[in-house]
């Protein structure tokens, strides 16, 4: 950031857009610079510098999610090559905790946004549906840490999960009905009653607070 004057203006702008406080933005900016090696943008390769991320089984999907145009609100599909700080904050804002001051409508909106993020992660080809293949892919990655579970079983699990989803979303199906895949509305139905807004968040530090566990 340039001179302090324009910097604080930028910070305020970002505050307004993403909802983070200025302290949090400072902290995240420091982290961004560390990850990008003082460059203004981050590429996929920069994520390799995070050692702990290697152990994560769904690493590739998560990294992909950072560059997904749908999450960055830049387009209906495709991947960006690099993201700047504002994009970084946009992605992070999906994980902000729900503000207690929000009213019911805003909470619902927040909830939808978070679920949409999750949906985009599953729906890798951006066609608006999670097909059986994509679901199988997810389960494979999740269980990839365990080499003893056979591929057969993994596929059965994915099949079973898909069936379950079908039964929740569509209920009884006619004999010649084909269940194409989980649309976003179906996805919302599956998640009905489960508090995603309270589960899907990460604590972003203010400089003073020390958070151990919530």
């Amino acid at each position: 950031m340039g001179a302090t004057h324009s910097a604080s203006e930028e910070v305020r702008e970002l505050e307004g857009k993403t909802g983070f406080s200025s302290d949090q933005i400072e902290q995240l900016h420091r982290r961004f610079k560390h990850l990008s090696g003082d460059q203004p943008t981050i590429r996929k390769e920069n994520f390799n510098n995070i050692p702990d991320l290697e152990l994560n089984p769904i690493r590739s999907k998560i990294v992909r999610a950072f560059f997904d145009n749908r999450n960055l609100r830049k387009g209906p599909s495709g991947l960006a090559d690099e993201i700047n700080f504002e994009d970084f904050l946009t992605i992070m804002s999906y994980f902000r905790p729900i503000d207690t001051t929000m009213d019911e409508e805003q909470v619902q909106l927040c909830r939808k946004e978070k679920l949409r993020f999750l949906f985009h992660m599953y729906d890798s080809d951006s066609d608006g549906r999670i097909t059986l293949e994509e679901y199988r892919n997810v389960v494979e990655e999740l269980l990839s840490g365990n080499p003893h579970i056979e591929k057969e079983s993994v596929r059965s699990i994915a099949d079973g999960a898909m069936m379950e989803a079908a039964s929740v979303c569509v209920g009884r199906m006619e004999p010649d009905q084909v269940y194409e895949g989980i649309t976003f509305d179906d996805f919302l139905k599956i998640w009905q009653g489960i508090d995603i807004e309270t589960k899907m968040h990460v604590r972003f530090l203010n400089v003073e607070t020390i958070a151990l566990c919530h």
Binding site: T100, L143, I149, I157, A161, E164, R203
Partner: protein, 644 residues
């Protein structure tokens, strides 16, 4: 009855002498019997165990009778009914025998009645939820109990100074502090009994219940410290004694937890090797958990904490190691024992209240105590919640706080502790006993009765009774990984990071050491849920009248060929209309194979003889390579597979 329990503790019964001469006819001492007696009444030989069995029988019959009336049980919690029954029974015994025969003896309570309940709750505690809320639980348990104890004790002393408590209650500040310490602890038995019927949301339940378990350490320390101070005399207490008191808090709690974890480790390790001796598996679980309790008691550490930690720590490995049948045996035995113990406790509470020789009434003390415990509990909860909400990501709102303050029930632990007081050192003991009885009755009866309407009126979030679905499990795991990853990216070592680290450590070292090799290889939570759903589906399928072992000849001509089964799994073939999860009989055999040849044989038999329904939902158009089967009559309509 509890004198009858003395033989169980190895002490001789007063009437034991009679057993030495069984052939004595009553009324003719010293003379040989006239002839061969056809029939002799040997009451004294069986008195002790017979009475124990009789009490348990009465308790169980009472439970049956209560549940005959739906209306009554929906309004009144069981614990209330049991206490009232106890009162009635006690009155009868008093009227008949002219003296109170049966009491809730502290020895029996702490050694026999409390451990099953605590073991049951520790073993079946949802550990994820527990650790998620550990901060809140610890705060309420430690800070909250200390606050309650000191404020109640001090307030009562103040009441005495103000003259509202009759002077015949001879108690000083220390005595009141001692009383405050034992009356202020939230009781796990009572909380369980009442909250079980109310079904509030899990977070609320785990916080109140976790608090009731973990505050045992604080109660034990406070009680012992105050007791010793009273014995030493308040003048002799020095500054170092206070420091020792604080230090003993850490020793008792951490020591108790450590004992529990050691036994959990032992238990998990032992069950790893019980493959050939499956029959002793349930026994091992109970024995080692009970040993943990007794060891902690012996060392004056917190026994409740020990058993809780033992249950929490060992569950994952034990469940993986022991056989399916043992798992069921353990679960049901634990539940039965716990339920039985709970019933007896409440009944005995009722009975003990009737013995008026043990208590003395003072209205000022009683009313004051009642008011103060409610008031200070509410105040304490509000203050602590305000502090906690600065740190919690899911703040506890006002309604939660109301339920938490109202749900701070006192129970049998307080009663047992007050009976243990030494009357010579604490002259006001009888007054304390009466007050404790009133408090316990009030909380269990009045608060127990009113909490359900209160919860309904306040529209507290109830527990959503979700059946475990595969999707949920999958998503939860995805979450965990995403959140851990985001924390890594942000560079902040928060809760998810540490949980992830722990899981890695567990996977690499602990599970390998403690789990049987076959279990270790395929252990994965997603897999477990899938497996369990399959088994349940299979069972319900057969229950619904599905003929799994139908004759092999009934393959319909245009059914897809067998090879496709391997690809799409039997699931698809058996599923009717996509309801429920999965019925994949292959699954059941794939992984556990090699263990039982019979399983493999059964599997092939089932596969061969399975009815293939006329309908297979098409999830992947690509998979429908086979020609459409002309859909024959809907005879298999009855073979619905529902998630039961």
């Amino acid at each position: 009855m509890l004198r009858a329990a003395l033989p169980l503790l190895g002490l001789p019964l007063a009437g034991a002498g009679a057993t030495e001469e069984p052939t004595q006819e009553p009324g003719s001492p010293g003379e040989p019997p006239p002839g061969l007696a056809l029939f002799r009444w040997q009451w004294h030989e069986v008195e002790a165990p017979y009475l124990v069995a009789l009490w348990i029988l009465v308790a169980s019959l009472a439970k049956i009778v209560f549940h005959l009336s739906r209306k009554v049980t929906s309004l009144v919690p069981e614990s209330c009914l049991l206490i009232l029954l106890g009162l009635v029974l006690g009155g009868i015994v008093l009227a008949v025998a002219k003296k109170a025969e049966y009491q809730l003896e502290p020895g029996t309570f702490f050694l026999f009645l409390l451990p099953p309940i605590v073991l049951d709750s520790g073993y079946f505690m949802p550990s994820r939820l527990f650790f998620d809320n550990l901060g809140a639980i610890l705060t309420y348990a430690v800070v909250g109990t200390l606050w309650n104890a000191f404020t109640t004790g001090a307030a009562l002393w103040g009441l005495q100074q103000a003259g509202l408590v009759a002077p015949r209650v001879q108690a000083g500040l220390l005595d009141f502090l001692l009383f405050g310490s034992l009356i202020s602890a939230v009781d796990p038995v009572a909380v369980l009994a009442v909250f079980e019927e109310v079904h509030v949301n899990e977070t609320l339940f785990i916080i109140v219940f976790g608090e009731s378990l973990l505050n045992d350490a604080v109660t034990v320390v406070l009680y012992k410290v105050c007791n010793s101070f009273v014995e030493m005399g308040s003048a002799n207490v020095q500054a170092t004694d206070y420091l020792k008191g604080v230090a003993s808090l850490f020793v008792v709690s951490l020591g108790g937890a450590a004992v529990g974890l050691v036994f959990a480790f032992l238990l998990a390790l032992t069950t790893r090797f019980t493959k050939r001796v499956r029959i002793i598996e349930p026994l091992l679980v109970f024995l080692l958990a009970y040993a943990a309790y007794l060891t902690a008691e012996m060392a004056s550490l917190s026994a409740i904490l020990a058993v809780t930690m033992c249950g929490l720590g060992c569950k994952k490995y034990v469940e993986a190691n022991i056989s399916h049948k043992s798992r069921t045996a353990v679960k049901y035995t634990m539940k039965t024992l716990a339920s039985c113990a709970e019933t007896i406790i409440f009944m005995l509470l009722g009975i003990s209240a009737v013995d008026s020789s043990k208590w003395a009434w003072d209205s000022g003390l009683v009313l004051g105590t009642l008011f103060f415990i409610l008031f200070f509990r509410a105040l304490g909860v509000v203050l602590q919640t305000w502090v906690l909400n600065q740190f919690r990501l899911v703040p506890l709102d006002k309604i939660d706080q109301v339920v938490m303050s109202y749900g701070g029930l006192r129970g049998a632990v307080a009663f047992a502790l007050v009976i243990l007081l030494d009357r010579t050192k604490i002259p006001a003991k009888d007054y304390f006993v009466a007050t404790t009885i009133v408090v316990v009755f009030f909380t269990v009866i009045v608060q127990g009765l009113t909490i359900k309407p209160l919860v309904k009126w306040l529209k507290v979030k109830r527990s959503e009774h979700h059946k475990p679905t595969l999707n949920q499990e999958l998503h939860e795991h995805t979450f965990d990984h995403i959140l851990a990853a985001v924390e890594d990216v942000v560079g902040h070592h928060g809760y998810h990071y540490w949980r992830d680290r722990w899981e890695q450590f567990d996977k690499k070292y602990l599970s390998q050491l403690l789990m049987r090799r076959s279990a270790y290889r395929i252990r994965d939570q997603i897999w477990d849920v899938y497996y369990r759903l399959n088994i349940r589906d299979a069972i319900s399928f057969v229950d619904q009248g599905g003929h799994v072992l139908s004759s092999t000849g009934l393959t319909l001509p245009s059914m897809p060929s067998r090879n496709s089964v391997a690809e799409t799994s039997v699931t698809n073939l058996l599923r009717e209309s996509g309801s429920g999860a999965c019925l994949d009989l292959q699954v059941i055999d794939t992984v556990r194979s090699g263990r039982d040849r019979e399983d493999a044989v059964m599997h092939h038999l089932l596969c061969g003889g399975l009815y293939k329904p006329r309908y297979r939902p098409r999830i992947l158009p690509a998979l429908a390579q086979h020609p459409e089967a002309p859909y024959c009559s809907y005879s298999q309509a009855t073979h619905h597979v529902f998630l039961s």
